[in-house]
Amino acid sequence: MASTTELASSFIEGAPPGELADVVADVKALTSDGPDIIPSLAPAFERYNETQLTTVKLPGASQEVLISEYNKLEGNRYFDVESQTSFEVDHVTQEASAAQSYVLESQNADLIKSLLKSLSAHATEHYRTCSYGVYPIEDDTAVAIVLVANRYSPNNFWNGRFRAIYTLPVNSSSTTISGQIKVDVHYYEDGNVALNTNKPVNLSVPSVDASSIISRIAAAERDYQEELNRAFVSTAEGVFKGLRRQLPITRQKVEWEKVGGYRLGQDIAGGR
């Protein structure tokens, strides 16, 4: 049987967008150790933060930067290319501290900076609030492009997260971008409704050029959002309608006095 720590870890990693603190409060209330269980859950918090692309405020700055497996340094330190900063993250509190200047050392530094510039322009056009980053990966032979957009509206009982992660090798002239787009929406007024999507992306680009890479990505994201919007309509018109009709085919509500009523009415009367 799974241990309390394993079960509580699965709750932490399953927290919906913007509701980690609520899940943590519930976990503390449910476990006999109370708050003392938290240190044993540190690995779960770290996995949550890296897969959910948690954003943290840099000390003394207003901008939020994301953390992921791609911008991880030693220990709990991560780096951000745009602000040329590295920082330490407390995975439980999701706070950054001990910021230091960080200079990117990569043979692809120029490409990374151009990608950031194009990505920034793309992000401003389509995301009201988001954080993003471009990082060298796989021993500097490839690049990861990562973007996260969150909208939290707990007063209206909904929260949402859009994540996109793309990687591309940069050792040849043409290249293939592969990645994933994930959208998670949680609605919980008098209920619990979740939208979870996962769309694998594979795009080939003729040259390793920042603006053409980002415009291919932008087009793929647009196509996906349009496809998702169509899926809402086709699901409503298809499977949903097939499950339960809004009205019977006769367009009449049930005549409850008549359905099986006569015979049974007599039955009941006779039985008294």
Binding site: G14, D26, L30, T124, R151, L195, F232, G238, L243
Partner: protein, 287 residues
Amino acid sequence: MADAQFDSALDLLRRLNPRDTKQNLQAITSIVPDLTEDLLSSVDQPLEIRKCPKTDRDYLLCDYNRDGDSYRSPWSNEFDPPLEDGTVPSERVRKLEVAANEAFDVYRELYYEGGVGSVYFWDLDDGFAGVILLKKGERVLSCYFRLAIQANILFCIGVTPGAKSSGEWDSIHVFEATDRARMSHYKLTSTVILHLANESESLGEMDLSGNMTRQVEVDLPVESDASDVANVGRLVEDMELKMRNLLQEVYFGKAKDVVGELRSLPSLSESNRDRATHLEMIRSMHS
């Protein structure tokens, strides 16, 4: 402490993925075994189907037709596996239960055109109570074609091979009917669990799952036992219509809107420019 833990458990289940309620419920009760009984009776899960050995008809399982490890079939009124002294409704309430099962069978055919239903009633000191269960599943496995008509010729402009679509609907309506003079007071709590999934090459995976709960209380005139069944029928019918509309709004309207909040399809600078132009026009009309 136990009450606070119960509330935390419910809060947690309201936040974690509704697709995984069963596993999460097991996880919570293995951490806090004392909560098992209370949680099992207050957390709704997708209904399981069993075949009645006596009548060969399918029926649905829930906490209300369970006695120990046995379940009572609404068709035979017998427990499976058999129980010597399983709790069954009084003769009068069983007759109401039989009538309600017949009536909701008609209802199920009219609205669900298939699926499985079961109604269970039990006695109260000053009336009776019951649960109406309805379940329907849909699975569409297809190549779907996108068609276009041009100059009266039908074109197939795209094929999505291996597109899969599935859905599962579970309705759980629990009510109490308490006797008043020539009236009955009805209290109805309804939960619908709706799971939908889509998968195709162009869409990837899309999962829309969840549950919603609503309550209503009302006094209605009662002339005979038959009108009790009709009253409950109308209450459930109205509630399901309301909830179907609500689910449609949340699953396909709200969820889509939030995706649009996260990512704007039109360029934001263009929409901001349009808005500014629009404001400028209004201003110039008033000056």
